[in-house]
Symmetry: C2
Subunit: 339 residues, 2 copies
């Protein structure tokens, strides 16, 4: 294996100084004659020179990379399709603009030990927080204290932080859309089935449902369950049905949970939506699987990622975030599961 060529080896080969090579590499037109440029380019080609990003970073203090910390109690932190699509959007938009994405999955409370935090080698950090609002704010403050631009996903803005941008889809608005859909028929009692981990987006959905249901005099109960497998969801909802009887509406925190709910209702001889209306949340391109088709909202996770990347790129360019907050509107996906 030959040594990797450096500016110096190229300079040697082309009989010029490394400063000249640097100019050519960086496409700096001023101060290089066409003739030398050609020669240098030939040497670069011949040696197969590729610039060393580390040397460049050390000098320029820019790393062409963005860090993403996903705070999640599950080691399979990427299992959730929302996260998955967000990462894809972020990564694509970054890659397209010559930036890399440094991915970290971190357990709640372990953020300060993560090497993303302990050693900086990125131009900006993205944070996908989970936990209670207090825990999330603590995480935001920790990362913000690093003095790097920060993008926070899915959470509501915090006042006292500098150089931070909040990007999320309009989860409360999406919930209102679904609630209004459901309310096309008269209802008395609704149940929302949520995971036992507090997620900011879910808080917003609860708020959206509550707003509409309360205004229409509909009682809203919350049922919490472990969402890691459909078994746990089933027993969670089954417990509620046994204790409180059958409600008019079941809204799932997401599509997976809603499908599990439809399953157990069907198993008990109930018909959706005749006996119970069911709605999901966060439809993704590949989710036309349930019967009856789920009434849900189309997730903007991918766009959230793209928006964040664009905001970061722009921030790096101009020294500040243009907007402090981006809220992407959601769209109803009508289905046969409601109303």
């Amino acid at each position: 294996m030959r040594e990797r060529p450096t500016l110096r080896s190229v300079a040697l080969k082309a009989n010029v100084s490394i400063a000249t090579v640097s100019k050519v590499v960086n496409g700096i037109a001023a101060g290089v004659s066409e003739a030398t440029r050609k020669e240098v380019e030939a040497a670069i080609e011949e040696l197969g020179y590729r610039p060393n990003r580390v040397g460049r970073s050390l000098r320029s203090q820019r790393h062409q990379a963005v860090g993403l910390a996903i705070v999640d109690p599950s080691p399979r932190f990427l299992a959730d399709p929302f996260t998955t699509n967000l990462v894809a959007g972020l990564c694509n938009q970054l890659n397209t603009n010559g930036f890399g994405l440094l991915l970290y999955g971190v357990m709640p409370g372990k953020l300060s030990e993560s090497s993303l935090i302990r050693q900086s080698e990125v131009d900006a950090i993205c944070l996908n927080p989970s936990g209670t609002r207090d825990e999330r704010e603590a995480a935001m403050e920790l990362v913000s204290g690093l003095g790097q631009p920060l993008v926070v996903f899915q959470d509501r803005p915090v006042q006292n932080l500098q150089d931070v941008c909040f990007v999320r889809q309009d989860d409360a608005g999406g919930a209102e859309l679904l609630a209004n859909e459901v309310m096309k028929r008269p209802r008395r009692r609704a149940v929302m089935v949520i995971a036992d981990i507090p997620w900011p987006a879910v808080e917003n959905r609860v708020a959206g449902f509550r707003k509409v249901f309360e205004a229409r005099g509909v009682q809203l109960d919350l049922v919490t369950c472990d969402e890691t497998d459909s078994q746990a969801i089933s027993s969670g909802i089954a417990g509620y049905l046994d204790d409180h009887g059958v409600p008019d509406v079941i809204v799932g925190q997401n599509d997976q949970i809603a499908i599990a709910c439809i399953d157990i209702l069907t198993a008990r001889g109930l018909e959706v939506p005749r006996d119970v209306a069911v709605t999901g949340y966060n439809a993704f391109p590949f989710t036309g699987l349930s019967r009856p088709a789920l009434a849900t909202v189309r997730s903007r996770a991918y766009d959230v990622g793209v928006t964040a990347a664009s905001a970061i790129l722009e921030r790096l360019e101009n020294g500040r975030f243009r907007q402090r907050e981006y809220v992407l509107p959601l769209e109803l996906v009508p289905g046969n599961s409601a109303p």
Copy 2:
């Protein structure tokens, strides 16, 4: 915002040389008295010093980071649950050992333009290739030519490459398990529904099915379709049914496709598995949704990621990969959709 402290500022504060601080930071016991160590640690604490990874990298030529290139024609390259779980396993195992994961989604043929390739800042590269075998081999050679340790996912080994490790689940073996399950009843004709993008893992599955079916005198047809949405899958399989009639068995390239197949069969008044047996592939923790429950194999995607990370860590430690190939065995998930 205060300047970020460096070795120098800590040294100044503690009235020692930067060499001494460096030793303390790196936990080098030899040559530092307990007293100075304490003083230095106090200075580090007070200044909030964190080592700069870039300076360290430049000097030590190690980056504590691994690159992952996912070659996929879809911009939503992370949509596939296999990829998702693989990334999670890889990322967790790497993070746990102080390594970062630099993620790149790249379009087929664009690999050489990717900045992961063009600028090295990682200690090893992982490649998740797609396309024809030729295209995949070209990609492997390209990356291998960088002179960095390389891990290739899901593909069969290539002979002439140095410092490469191949990690995959036993897709052919998994297909044989399913085929044998299906063959518990007599069959004449089977159809495999596959995506129009060639994936190495799918080639292996086809080979596994073919082996068993051929040995038992069962004809195996292939139907190709766009797998990006269930609509396209439905029309693909519908076309086959119209042209060739109903086969005894339909095997899907993955669970999503199999579920779409069950849908369309049911819609046509056919009963699974009475009229047609259906099998899937790559069950993930959250895939108990179809009725009848799908006969499939449990994917080892997460373990593939973990295995790769461990292999890389070991390679970086010892200078060479211990094994050239890791093939993780698959396990049947029996279901009611077959036999």
